[in-house]
Structures are given as structure tokens and as C-alpha cells.
Symmetry: C2
Subunit: 414 residues, 2 copies
């Protein structure tokens, strides 16, 4: 096999139909940004849109903008615009609150839909906040238990067989390794056992094609600050299957989810449709970047995005094999169809290696105890960036410059 | 008694020590804005700060800004800066989520602190979302009941006497009439009955002096988009008395409230102190306006703010009596010490009158069935604005131009 060189990578960029989109983002000089799976970069249109909302809608329109600028309905209008990214239609997605809070809502609704069942299943290795929220929910009702499954999924079958599972919460893509689950097959298994399937899309939506209705998913949640590039702490979203919307009632029943929010009645009556999953006043200033980002997504074919993502992660793994050999271990699936848009490399001193990479302008991140994560985001990254990353890892390992970096601390945000 | 004229109002403005602050806000030409008790206007510093956060912290700093720009700790650092407005010290206030969600958290914590008691008390006439959230919480645990009291408070004594009340949720200032409760006296009564006192400060904080520790309050919640001028849907806050912080555990237990959020452990352990009341990633772009607004508040004495507020509402009522006579009814307390920073006028066609006022540049709002609300915010309003408001109401009533306005609709946001 011929070795891959930088010219080959540049040639791939030359032929890339998505290459022009890089200009739609602002990226700092000298940075190879492989953390778009944690916080996406800023779409170029954001500052102007932000000023428009601040100086015209707020400063000039004042309280009237809740109607006149469409503020009150933005969780729904943005939800409709986001819906195609998860294969959904209008009235199936609402943009609101945070992923953790939305998980609490949809699991709460699922428990009410399966009143005779007492078990919630989640992944022990999933993003921790999901587990934390579910622990509290199980304690809170005093009637449920949380069963955690380990990686591999064998325990899921056993738990489902017991016939007591109300809801299963699954991460579509593993936040550490990038493992991609088969949404259709797992959902079918969950349904066969009479349980409801709740998917966390934080590490998949915006990076690959998703068809929630086609997979017959019950509920889904996700964030918008990773692959959707909507800014730090930008609002999350949730999906509810149309067949469940009339009966699903969620526990965080604030006035924005009321059937008549401005009637100011003294008793809660849930709105028809997805709006009942809202709680209270959304942060309007958190929405303009999402609107700008969704404009960009509206211009691309997600199948093309997925193809480039797989090509980039395939290229990365091939270059790791070629350039790094046994110095690191590829911790992500080598089969591109079982992988999200990220690749993790295992190294016993991964924390220090990552610090050294960041000093050299190659930004990935680290997950304890030994994983270096690299996110490959097709909208703004080049194949040449993949080359730069691997070449820099090689340099850091060969020169052992990582040894001068500090040891890891669990208290630092990464 | 000599009649009050516009020159007198202008003279009051001339002598007003807070008058210079009006220049720190952007107000549209030709608008007398009396809805600052619903959505405050934009502090002049906001656009520049917003651009700084967007173009420098996000676009250039990228994911590193969670540490480098202090994003991760902003709920705590902004909480410490907001604390003096409610009489609190460092580590007692956290800025996060929404008022409704924060109510759910603190009531959840209160119920855990009073496990032998089953009754939550709230005001039937309070802002409806409080009641909606509490209804759900009582249903959710399956072990609690929500008891609603009517205006006047006599029922509160009866309920407290029954010895089963865990928590009492009270609005410091009534959102419709501006009635101001005696926080110290009511809290003492609640405590004497063994219950916990939770105050909703949405319609008081930023308009008058508050001393939560001095009143021995247990928990408080509030928003920042009314008198605190932090923008549409800006983040809410909550207060927890230091004596309760070690034992208070809240139900929305996300990773940002964890003792070691970046250890990614599989079990929830609440952080020490107020941080355990956080849930998950805050919207960073919602914070710059609050920071700008708190800078302004840091420069004023809240006693002076309260004095001007009372002088303005006293002037308004005197002018209503003088100019409007029996054409309207003052629905707010005439004793300034029992009143927040707003005055409500009752008129059978209040909705239409308010529409006519807004067409003439005088913005108040309407609450069914017959209340016109006017907020008087000392930082940016002039005594002359009070004159303009009453003169315009008089014109609209005398000419009966309100009759050409549409009838009210409960579906419109106001």
C-alpha cells in the first residue's frame, strides 16, 4: 500500500464539495480545531445577527418583541427548523432548556406512560449527567429504580427480559470512543419488551444522518453547541413521537407549556402537541447563533456530510497506523459505519500529550483515564487538518516534549 | 392642596440624584416605557460586551474559554455580584436556569428537609407558573398536596396551624397589584409553624431593598429580566440560606452541580455549597447583559432607588386622583410602604385603553380582567414620564379613542 502524504490530503480538499463552507465559520489563526464535538466554532454570521436581536428587537422593540419579533414561539419555530437534522417533521421538536433538563422531562413522561413498570435503564458509561438526572428521578418518585448497563449491551437484553423496564436511555454515539449504536435495531428490541426508547443525540446530530421517525424512536434529546455550532451553553432540544404527544405529560410544567399561557389560570393544563414540553421563558439571546447555524445546515445534504465525516475519520485512522504505529491505540471502531464523527486514541500519558498538542495549535480534548479525543467536523475542517493533527502527535511523541506538561487534574474543565 | 403640574415634575427631575443613570440605557424615541417590571430596557453597554463575548471569548477562545474566560464559574461569580441586591453574601446566590425551574429545585429541597410533612402552600393569585410547577411536584412525589391560599392571607394561618406544612411559597410583590408583603413578619410566622419560607422576588428585586438573611428567609428565587434589565429570558437566580446548604439536596441534579463535575463518575454527589443547585451548561451568551446591568446597580444605593420609586408611585397616584378622578380605580395599595414599584389602575375596558396608550407611545401592560399595570423604574424613568402617562390616559379616556381598539384576546402574549 502506498503511503499517504500531505499532497494526497490536499488533493482530497481540492475535490471536496463541502470545502467552501469553511469560509462560513471563524477559526483562529494557527489553530487546528478538533473539539467541534465539544464546542463548535462560531458561524461567521453570528455577530451581525446578535447585534440585530440586541439593538433592534430588544432595545427598540422592547417587551412587544415577545409577539412582534416572534420571541414567544422561537422554541417551536427553531424546533421545526432543526427537525430535518433528526429526520423529524414540524411539531415534533422543541428547542428549550438544557439536555439534562430535557432528559428529566422525557423520562418523566415515559414513566407516566408506563405506570405499571418501575425500572429505568441507562448506560453506566454514558455522559454522566444523564445518570445523575435519572438517579434523582428514581429517588424522587420513590417508586423507580435505575439500572445501569456496562458497555457491550448484553445486560440490556437481560433487563428487558424481566418485563419491568419502562424506559431505556441510550447515547447514539459514545462521547468517549465514538461508538455508534444501531438506532433502529435497538429501538425495535426495546419496543419488543414493551419499553420506551429515549435517545441522547448530543454526539451524533449534525454529524450524521438521523431518522427518528423511521427508527420509531419514542423520545430524543440533544444539545446544539457541539456539531450544531450554536455557541457555549446554547439551548438544547427534544423530540417526541407524534403518536405519544397527546398522552405524554412531563413533570417540569411551567407556564410556557400551558394550553393558554396568557390566560393566567390557576391550574395547569398542558398545551396540545410538542409545546407542552416547554417550561418557561427561553433565553432569547441564546437563539441567534442557532438560527445562523441552521441556515448553513439547510444548505447541505447530510448524506454528503456523513460521507466526508467517514472519509476524514478513515483517513485519520490510516494516518495513525502509518505514522504512529504502536505508540497509540485506536480506541474507536475501525468500521466507519459503527463510528460517529470522532476518533479516540489511547495513550497512558494522554493528558500530557494533549496539553503538548494544544500548545502546538492542535486542539483535541482528554477524557480520563487515557483517551485523547479528536472530533472531525465536515463543515469547516480540511483533510489537511487531519494530516496536521497526526504529524503533530508524531512530533510530540517522538520528541517526548509531553513530559514537561503537568499531570492531569480532575477539577479542570476541559 | 395646590394642583400638580408638569413644571413641578420637571423640578423633581432636576433635583433627582439618580437622573444621570437614564443615559446608561437605550430607550426608543417617543416611548414612555412603563413595562420595565416585565422586560427592562437595554443597558447601553450591552452591544459592546456581547460582541466581546461572541467574537473574542467564543470565536477566538473556543472551548478553552470554559476555563480561560471563567465561563464554567459564571453562575457563581454572577451570583456573588447579584447577592447584595437581596442582602446576601458570597456563596449564597447562584445565577442559573429559569425562575420556574429554580422554584422546582428549592421546593424539592424544602420537601426533603421536612420529610414528615406533606403540604406545600402557595398563593392562588401568584404568578401562575409557580402554581403549575408545584402542582406537578405534588403529583410527582405522590405524597404531597398543594394548598392554595387566596389574597389576604387569613388561610395561611389556618394551614400553618394544622402542622403539616413543609414549605410556603410567597410572592414578595404581587405581579398584578404591586402589593408588598412584610417578608420578616411572614417568614417568622412560617418558621413558628415549623415550615420553610420560599420567596419569589421576581417583582421586587432591583426595585427595593431586600435583606434575605436579615429576614431569616430559607430559600428565594427570582428573574433578572424585569428590574434587573438583563434581557429577554435572561437567566434566573436562587438563594439558599447558609444554614441549610449542607443538607439541602435538589431534584434536578445535573453534572454542573456535582462535587467533581469533570471526574465523570457514575454516581451523583452534590457539590459543597450553593453550587449543588446548578444543573447543567448555562447559556453563556445570556450572561453579558446581566454583567452590564450589575455594574450599574453596583454604583447605586438601593435605599435611594427605593425612595425614588416610592416618590414616583406616590406622584402617579396623586396625579391619577387629580386628573382622572373616578374614571379609574387605583388597585394598588395607597400606602407606599405596602407597595412595590408598580401601580395598577382598574378600568372595565382596560385592555382597549392600554392599546390606545401604547399607540400614543405610553407603554404599560394589561392583566385580565381589568387591570392596567404601570411599572416605575427609578434607574431610567423621569418624574416627567409620570406626568406624560397620566396626561395620556386622560386624553384617551376623555376622547374615548379606546373604543376603536379590539377586544382582549387571551392568546396574545403581553
Amino acid at each position: 500500500m502506498t503511503s499517504i502524504d500531505i499532497s494526497h490530503c490536499r488533493e482530497l480538499d481540492h475535490r471536496d464539495d463541502l470545502a467552501h463552507l469553511r469560509d462560513e465559520f471563524v477559526l483562529p489563526e494557527g489553530v487546528t480545531y478538533l473539539v467541534g464535538n465539544s464546542l463548535g466554532p462560531m458561524p461567521r454570521a453570528v455577530p451581525e445577527r446578535m447585534q440585530e436581536v440586541v439593538t433592534r428587537e430588544w432595545a427598540q422593540g422592547l417587551v412587544g418583541s415577545w409577539n412582534d419579533a416572534g420571541w414567544f414561539d422561537q422554541p417551536l419555530t427553531l424546533g421545526d427548523r432543526l427537525a430535518p437534522l433528526v429526520g423529524a417533521g414540524p411539531g415534533q421538536v422543541v428547542v428549550c432548556d438544557t439536555t439534562s433538563l430535557n432528559l428529566f422531562k422525557v423520562v418523566g413522561a415515559a414513566l407516566q406512560l408506563r405506570p405499571e413498570r418501575r425500572t429505568i435503564v441507562a448506560e453506566a458509561y454514558g455522559f454522566p449527567t444523564d445518570v445523575y438526572m435519572l438517579e434523582s428521578m428514581a429517588t424522587w418518585t420513590g417508586q423507580h429504580r435505575l439500572a445501569l448497563i456496562e458497555q457491550g449491551g448484553a445486560q440490556l437484553d437481560d433487563l428487558l427480559d424481566q418485563g419491568d423496564v419502562a424506559a431505556v436511555v441510550l447515547n447514539h454515539v459514545d462521547y468517549r470512543t465514538g461508538d455508534l449504536l444501531d438506532m433502529a435495531a435497538v429501538t425495535e428490541k426495546v419496543h419488543a419488551a414493551g419499553a420506551l426508547a429515549i435517545w441522547d443525540l448530543c454526539h451524533s446530530a449534525g454529524a450524521l444522518e438521523i431518522d427518528l421517525p423511521g427508527c420509531d424512536v419514542d423520545f430524543a434529546i440533544g444539545c446544539t453547541y457541539k456539531y450544531l455550532n450554536a455557541g457555549p451553553g446554547s439551548p438544547a432540544y427534544l423530540y417526541v413521537a407524534p403518536r405519544l404527544q397527546a398522552d405524554a405529560v412531563q413533570p417540569l410544567s411551567g407556564w410556557h407549556g400551558h394550553a393558554a399561557p396568557f390566560a393566567f389560570t390557576t391550574s395547569y393544563e398542558p398545551a396540545a402537541g410538542i409545546s407542552r414540553f416547554r417550561t418557561s421563558s427561553p433565553s432569547i439571546l441564546s437563539f441567534p447563533p442557532l438560527a445562523a447555524s441552521l441556515d448553513l445546515f439547510a444548505s447541505v445534504d447530510m448524506a454528503a456530510v456523513r460521507r466526508k465525516s467517514q472519509a476524514m475519520t478513515d483517513l485519520f485512522i490510516a494516518l495513525v497506523d502509518q505514522e504512529l504505529g504502536d505508540a497509540v491505540e485506536v480506541a474507536s471502531p475501525r468500521d466507519a459505519d459503527r463510528r460517529g464523527s470522532q476518533v479516540a486514541l489511547r495513550h497512558p500519558h494522554g493528558y500530557q500529550v494533549m496539553r503538548a498538542l494544544i500548545e502546538r495549535g492542535v486542539q483535541g480534548d482528554f477524557r480520563a483515564p487515557d483517551l485523547m479525543r479528536f472530533g472531525f467536523t465536515p463543515l469547516y475542517l480540511r483533510y489537511e487538518d487531519v494530516w496536521t493533527c497526526v504529524a503533530t502527535v508524531r512530533e510530540v511523541l517522538e520528541t517526548e516534549t509531553w513530559r514537561s506538561q503537568p499531570e492531569p487534574s480532575v477539577t479542570a474543565a476541559t
